[in-house]
């Protein structure tokens, strides 16, 4: 009994690792540009399809697929920022959020048109062999996915913390006007943060896809990540890690003991509870304004 709980817990934490990447994608855009990007899930989905296209459909192998997916998503995200979000700077936040929602809808439709509604299985890059921890069995793909997600998240955070560009993003998120007057190119920061968000989303999408396959609806499933972002407090890069692992853990436990349909409901319960109890999340800045 306890053993089983422990096993579910580890599986849950492992699946939470994938949430971390997607949540980082949300947070980076929100921090730098103050736009809540509802198309993040679709960026995940699109990156995964790019991988599938280049790796399997065109037959270039998974390394080329991965490179194409990451680069393609980054470029797509930057094009979206430059062509659709940039003209809207200065307009009400509601408008910008609506536009991201529209972008998401377009991307879902395009994916549906090209690849159809059925589930596509990615080629097996991650080893399938389960990993044994004592008596516990962890599915191999999940474990390796977790490891890769962890490495990418760590790399990203190091970049965000120590590089010049990362510092510029952080300065912009603290105070746009001051950052600009200190010579930081805000437009470049916006572009860069969208590009990074694209890479992170594609990476998390490919990992998710290699466990469960990919459909045009992958982006909607990924909205679960909202719970992670809310719990972490919208602006906390470090908090996302803890919140991601926690939500993954909670979801898996609920799914295991109450059934899969409850599992899909849990993230939204978390969202509402966070809003009621602690709107700025566990690690959020005190940017939240109550009225």
């Amino acid at each position: 009994m306890l053993m089983q709980l422990l096993e579910f817990s580890i599986i849950g934490i492992a699946s939470g690792g994938i949430y971390v990447l997607a949540a980082l994608s949300f947070v980076i855009v929100y921090k730098a540009t103050n736009v809540f990007n509802f198309a993040t899930g679709e960026m995940m989905m699109f990156g995964t399809y790019l991988f599938y296209l280049v790796d399997y459909q065109l037959g270039f192998g998974w390394i080329a697929g991965l490179a194409a997916a990451l680069a393609g998503s980054a470029i797509l995200a930057m094009v979206l920022e430059r062509s659709l979000m940039r003209p809207l700077i200065g307009r009400p936040a509601v408008v910008m959020v609506m536009v991201t929602l529209g972008i998401g809808s377009i991307m879902r439709g395009v994916a549906g048109l090209f690849w159809g509604p059925e589930v596509r299985q990615l080629t097996e890059v991650l080893p399938r062999k389960p990993i044994f921890l004592g008596d516990m069995l962890i599915p191999g793909k999940l474990a390796w996915g977790f490891v890769i997600a962890g490495v990418i998240a760590a790399l990203f955070m190091a970049y965000y913390r120590y590089s010049r560009a990362g510092t510029a993003i952080r300065a912009t998120s603290t105070d746009q006007i001051t950052a600009e007057s200190l010579g930081i190119n805000i437009r470049a920061v916006f572009l860069l943060s969208w590009g990074l968000a694209g890479v992170l989303a594609a990476a998390s999408g490919i990992i998710t896809g290699s466990v469960n396959g990919v459909t045009p609806q992958l982006g909607l499933v990924a909205l679960n990540v909202l719970a992670v972002v809310m719990l972490a407090g919208m602006t906390s890069v470090g908090g996302v890690v803890i919140a991601g692992l926690f939500v993954g853990w909670l979801e898996t436990l609920v799914g295991a003991y109450l059934g899969a349909s409850w599992q899909s409901f849990i993230p939204y319960l978390v969202v509402l509870l966070v809003m009621v109890i602690k709107p700025n999340g566990l690690f959020g800045e005190r940017r939240i304004e109550r009225i």
């Binding site: 809540f36 509802f38 659709l84 003209p87 809207l88 307009r91 009400p92 936040a93 509601v94 408008v95 959020v97 609506m98 536009v99 929602l101 529209g102 972008i103 998401g104 809808s105 377009i106 991307m107 879902r108 439709g109 395009v110 994916a111 549906g112 048109l113 159809g116 509604p117 045009p216 909607l220 909205l223 909202l226 809310m230 349909s261 899909s264 409901f265 939204y268 319960l269 969202v271 509402l272 809003m275 009621v276 709107p279 939240i288 304004e289 109550r290 009225i291």
Partner: protein, 349 residues
Amino acid sequence: MSNQMTSTAPLKTAGVGRPSGNTEAISWALLALALLVLPYFGSVYVVYMACLIAINVIATVGLNITVGYAGLLSIGHSAFLGVGAYASALAWLHLGTPLFVNVIIGGVAAFAVGLVFGIPALRIKGVYLAIATLAAQYSLYFVFQQWTAVTGGDRGLSLPKLDVFGLGDTGFYYAVAIVALVTCIAARNLFRTRIGRSFVAVREKDFAAEVLGINVVRTKLMAFGIGAAYTGVAGALLAAFLRLVNPDQFTLLVSVFFLAAVVVGGRASILGSIMGALFMTLMPEILRFVLEHTAGSGADLASLLSPLREILFGALIVGFLIFEPRGLVGLVERALGRSEAIEARQSEH
């Protein structure tokens, strides 16, 4: 006409380029007359589409109150459509109440459920309402689907045929048309009252509104609740119209549909809501018509139609927000050469 426009306070963006009282009364009367005689000239299909459009108009007006007038983003509005539909269907099946009571029940239920999701989100500034409404979308879908004993699960609820005014389908059409007309006029009047104007004030500058003695949280809750209630009324009518309620009628795509209707028609405009709902309801029909005539018989239309719809809804939202933020109403006014004065007043923040 222009006198009135310049004399209105800058806060009032409600009736864009408002016609004088007489012109407006005449246009409402003409609309009512057109609705009245429609069944005598239109075919069954036309009446069917008119019902659907009228229902969508009600829901769009509701969403426009929340999104357009109050500036609160709701991206899960079809959930409230569902609440209205289920509430009225259940009242009908179990209590046998007449249609007009069901419609009120649908509205009240959606209002109440809306507040459940609105109260936590609206205390906080920012995009939280959007997230909360998304939560509403998925958690209510979960309730519709899983609470089999009450909602019938995936199979949903089937409703008996309804006879309004002893006129069959035409009678139902009149019922829908009356409700749509009444709700539109009510919404238009709402924005001439203190409550309605406080919505706009809160949208423009919440702290300024607060200084002027408006209770911001209560106003936002009101705006969101009324929007949900309108949508609930539309849901109740939809249930009676389709005589079937199931969870798949209330998905995110439907919410995006209504959001697109608001944006396409014109935010903060009742006329815009009517135009937007009309456009968005007819658009998929036109799309299907075009596809059927271009793609040939071999193509799998159903599998093309749904992604194309998603692309079109999204593209309309993005395109109108970037190029014509005031929607079709803005286009019409530009065509009539009335744009400058209005654009100056409607500068967005």
